[in-house]
């Protein structure tokens, strides 16, 4: 049974046992606008929560993507190599960015549920 949570940096993270799949939220892709390039992270790299792991370039700006949780990068979404625009089209599903083998499952509890994230978006607008 997988569970999905959200970070304040507008990443989503879905956990299935000790594997986390991470991407950016629909809100994030909307504010970035046309995405032209995703610089994917390196497989095998150990990362800690809030590390910058990769970069998304849109026509408007370059944006760092952070990992919300510690772990080892075990897979990246190669589809994004040729088609960064997929992040605009399907950010929370087929345009996942990387997968982590997580080392600190308790960190997942610190992240927001969908309803908490929606509240957070409202508070950011103010």
């Amino acid at each position: 049974m997988s569970e999905k949570k959200y970070s304040k940096d507008h990443e989503w993270i879905e956990i299935d046992n000790d594997i986390a799949t991470i991407g950016i939220t629909n809100h994030a892709q909307e504010s970035l606008g046309d995405i032209v390039f995703v610089e994917l992270p390196t497989i095998g790299k150990q990362v800690s929560s809030n590390d910058e792991v990769c970069v998304i370039e849109s026509v408007k700006a370059a944006s760092d993507i952070y990992t919300p949780i510690d772990g080892e990068i075990i897979e990246v979404n190669e589809k994004l190599n040729d088609n960064g625009a997929l992040v605009n089209e399907d950010p929370e599903n087929t345009a996942w960015i990387f997968k982590l083998k997580i080392s600190e499952p308790s960190q997942f509890n610190d992240l927001m549920t969908l309803s908490e994230y929606q509240e957070f978006l409202k508070s950011e607008e103010k």
Partner: protein, 339 residues
């Protein structure tokens, strides 16, 4: 005008290249200056054009120059008959209104700031079809202008623009501008486009933007815009910076304006430093964007002339990335010339 509407910058960019886009550029400055001897003398101090040779209903790309020949602003000037009187009509940058208008206020007589006129740009290969309800549009070629009427109000229609495409820019009194835009948007060939697409289109077309390629420390010659100067004026000491411009024309320019293309898929961004193979800075990127036509990031920059045949690099996130130098424009323009 927003950065983009619903469908995004790249979609709007392609809309203009393939059909037509409507840009509301009413934020730009517009002024009418009566054609008289004193105004011509004043304009001749700042604008490097020979006013004796300016024809009616023709548009000229030019500049306001400072004492050093640096660019205070770039502009389009034409001579038109408006409400039965002869005027110079100048369209200038929104970002430079304060500087430009200070010059106009201090040096010109009886000018009219067209603050009650909107400026609507229609750009793209289908522009001609979309604007054909304005009769005068049919008799215009690129860089020509005429006054016409819309709902009994006088409008100024010019076959100009800043995207590299055929197109028109129309100055319409505010009280009829909504009706004007509504008629245009009823045509399914045209869609609203924003500032983002305006920028990526002008970069592809190799056109300079004030604040990026142009500023008070760069002369038109240094910006590779020598073609736009009326050379006879360079010997005229009454023109600001004429001596400096003459020296530059006869001598050497240190930097060249070049087109830049990303080899990897890194996005080129303005104000990025450019280096040679020895990691010495030799220039900078003045504009950068993504070209949906070429499928890669492109830009415009200035580099030291002596490095023009060498490899050049930018430092992006601690990686040295080579850039290609290419000639401008990236996309051939499709202006309707003639007449």
């Amino acid at each position: 005008m927003p950065i983009n509407y619903q469908k995004g910058i790249l979609n709007e960019h392609l809309q203009v290249r393939e059909s037509a886009g409507l840009f509301d550029v009413s934020h730009m400055g517009q002024i009418l200056i009566p054609v008289d001897e004193k105004n011509i003398i004043s304009l001749s101090k700042f604008i490097p054009l020979d006013f004796d040779k300016i024809n009616f209903n023709r548009c000229y790309y030019s500049f306001l120059l400072n004492n050093n020949g640096g660019i205070i602003d770039d502009l389009i000037i034409s001579k038109i008959q408006y409400k039965q009187k002869d005027f110079f009509y100048i369209v200038y940058n929104a970002s430079r209104k304060k500087n430009d208008e200070e010059i106009f206020i201090n040096h010109l007589n009886n000018y009219i700031l067209l603050t009650n006129n909107s400026l609507i740009a229609i750009q793209g290969p289908n522009s001609e079809k979309i604007i054909n309800f304005i009769n005068e549009s049919k008799n215009l070629f690129f860089m020509q202008t005429k006054t016409s009427n819309f709902l009994n109000k006088e409008i100024i229609i010019s076959r100009t623009g800043y995207t590299g495409e055929d197109g028109f820019e129309i100055s319409v009194p505010n009280d009829v501008s909504n009706q004007f835009i509504e008629i245009l948007l009823k045509n399914s060939l045209i869609k609203l486009c924003g500032l983002g697409a305006r920028d990526s289109l002008r970069i592809e077309a190799g056109l300079s933007l004030y604040g990026n390629e142009l500023n008070e420390k760069i002369t038109p010659i240094e910006a590779n815009l020598t073609w736009s100067l009326h050379k006879s004026r360079l010997n005229d000491e009454s023109l600001n910076g004429s001596k400096i411009l003459t020296n530059q024309l006869n001598g050497k320019i240190k930097n060249l304006k070049v087109g830049l293309k990303s080899i990897s898929r890194t996005m080129l961004r303005s104000n990025t430093k450019i280096y040679n193979i020895d990691k010495n800075q030799i220039g900078y990127i003045s504009s950068g964007t993504f070209s949906p036509i070429l499928g890669s990031s492109i830009g415009i920059g200035y580099i030291n002339k002596s490095e023009i045949n060498n490899k050049i690099y930018i430092l992006i996130r601690n990686n040295w990335e080579e850039l290609n130098i290419v000639s401008l424009p990236f996309i051939q323009n499709r202006y309707k010339r003639g007449g």
